[in-house]
């Protein structure tokens, strides 16, 4: 094997391509989500047809992003998959436990405001990030 062979690493090339595809679909999904959230109010004054079309586009792009994510996961090697699956499982657990407790706080009048889904998503993102870093450190 030569050093030049390494530059054409099949695994790395495939992984880079999958990462790029996932990044692109995620970017498009975020853009369509922003359009669906703000355009009805600021651009077309809650026109129902346009809003429904935007939502359908957002859902279609979201589905394509999920497919890209699946391809990305399948393209990873077994250790990378384990790190990712462990992080996802931990995030799901934290999301479920904290999400339900957070919802309960309002029901039992311990907080005076309505729990927001965005707060839960922030917690899940931070948990996932932390779990990924911990996973990579574990096998370093």
């Amino acid at each position: 094997m030569t050093k030049q062979d390494c530059e054409h690493n099949n695994y790395q090339t495939k992984n880079n391509a999958n990462t790029k595809t996932l990044r692109n679909w995620t970017t498009v999904w975020v853009i369509t989500m922003a359009i669906a959230a703000f355009a009805p109010r600021f651009i077309w004054d809650f026109n129902t047809s346009l809003t429904i079309i935007t939502l359908l586009i957002n859902l279609a792009v979201g589905f394509r992003m999920l497919v890209a994510n699946r391809e990305y996961l399948r393209g990873l090697d077994e250790m990378q998959q384990k790190i990712l699956f462990d992080a996802m499982a931990f995030t799901l657990g934290v999301g479920l436990v904290l999400g339900l407790s957070y919802e309960l706080l309002e029901d039992i009048k311990l907080i005076g405001f309505e729990p927001e889904i965005s707060h839960l998503i922030i917690v899940m993102c931070l948990t996932y990030l932390t779990a990924m870093i911990a996973g990579h450190r574990k096998y370093r």
Binding site: N9, N10, Y11, Q12, D77, E78, M79, K138, Y139, R140
Partner: protein, 67 residues
Amino acid sequence: MKNRLKVLRAERDWTQAQLAEALEVSRQTINAIEKGKFDPSLPLAFKAARLFNLTIEDIFHDEVETL
């Protein structure tokens, strides 16, 4: 699980990146296997054995002592 991956790789003067390429995994995975931090699956162990033209037992050893 202990293994001789690092020794076998060094004997052939391969880098971790080159071995990773041959086994179609990431360099980080090779590093973790060499350090004994990650145990490869059976298909990956067979792949390594084929690459080095050895048996799995020649490369990987169970750390539990047999009587």
